[in-house]
Symmetry: C2
Subunit: 171 residues, 2 copies
């Protein structure tokens, strides 16, 4: 099966959720999935569900617990960049059919990852691997390199009414 | 926990996938999820995954196998409308924390469901239930009634290159 590079970007809801849904769907079809979460160290409810599907889905977080986007420290940058290298090796190992780089776009925007390194990963993707990159602020060069790009656009959001993220719904 | 009404619409990819991802996340948090699929009778890889999470997620299809959008028959309309009634009862039973009406928007667009009936469902939603409605062509009245609306916008799509839907990725 030929694989493609998909990007989910934009400021709207559903980017990471769509990627997790895709992992669920792929696992259901017996495909092996690797999820790399960049700049996220928080505990997500997804992790609990994913454990139940662990024969098919592996997940690893390449980021610290209390990451502050606007001011990344050298350690944050090191963790993210080592993470990308690890994912690249795993991708070349052909052990996985679907590889998800969750929030990798925002990681390039805040200079945790370089666009060049992410581009290289896309360009060296084995033909049969499906690569999914999420996160707002996708670089134009990443969009250019991708086969499918979807922008999640916020039309209306109850957060504007001041509601907090809820367990099992947003996180 | 207060619940809201979310709508995922637009012609881009990821609407149903985001809803399934949300189901996965909610189930991981121990929330009970009901997924009603309208105008879809096809076998999805998601169904296989969902079986593994079946303690928390229930799914039912309210549509026939070979539904043709542009020319719904009386039987298609009956199945969809009975489905909406059933979902309404289940919603009032408080058995579920999250209710997903997959492709209900497109079902209203093609007159399988009336916008009035879908609006009534939104308006009678118990406070603690999270309601998620997917499908392109969401009616403006549904958008108005929702708390959160995300448009999945197609920026670039490899289908334009003539590629078929693939098991575990698109279906």
């Amino acid at each position: 099966m030929k694989g493609y590079t998909q990007v989910y970007t934009g400021s709207g809801k559903g980017k990471t959720t769509a990627a997790f849904g895709l992992a669920l769907r792929a696992a259901g079809a017996g495909l092996r999935v690797y999820i790399a979460q960049f700049v996220k160290g928080m505990k997500y409810s997804e992790l609990d569900s994913i454990k139940k599907l662990s024969d098919f889905i592996e997940i690893k977080q390449y980021g610290r617990d209390c990451f502050i986007f606007k001011d990344p420290e050298a350690e944050d940058i090191r963790v993210a960049q080592e993470g990308l290298k690890e994912v690249s090796k795993l991708m070349q190992s052909r052990k996985y059919d679907v590889i998800i780089l969750d929030e990798a776009n925002i990681a390039t925007y805040y200079k945790l990852l370089s666009v060049d390194d992410l581009l290289e990963l896309i360009q060296t993707k084995p033909e049969n691997v499906e690569l999914i990159i999420t996160g707002r602020m996708a670089d134009p060069r990443i969009i250019e390199a991708a086969d499918l790009v979807t922008e999640m656009k916020e039309i209306k959001h109850y957060y504007q009414k001041g509601i907090q993220a809820r367990d099992g719904i947003e996180k």
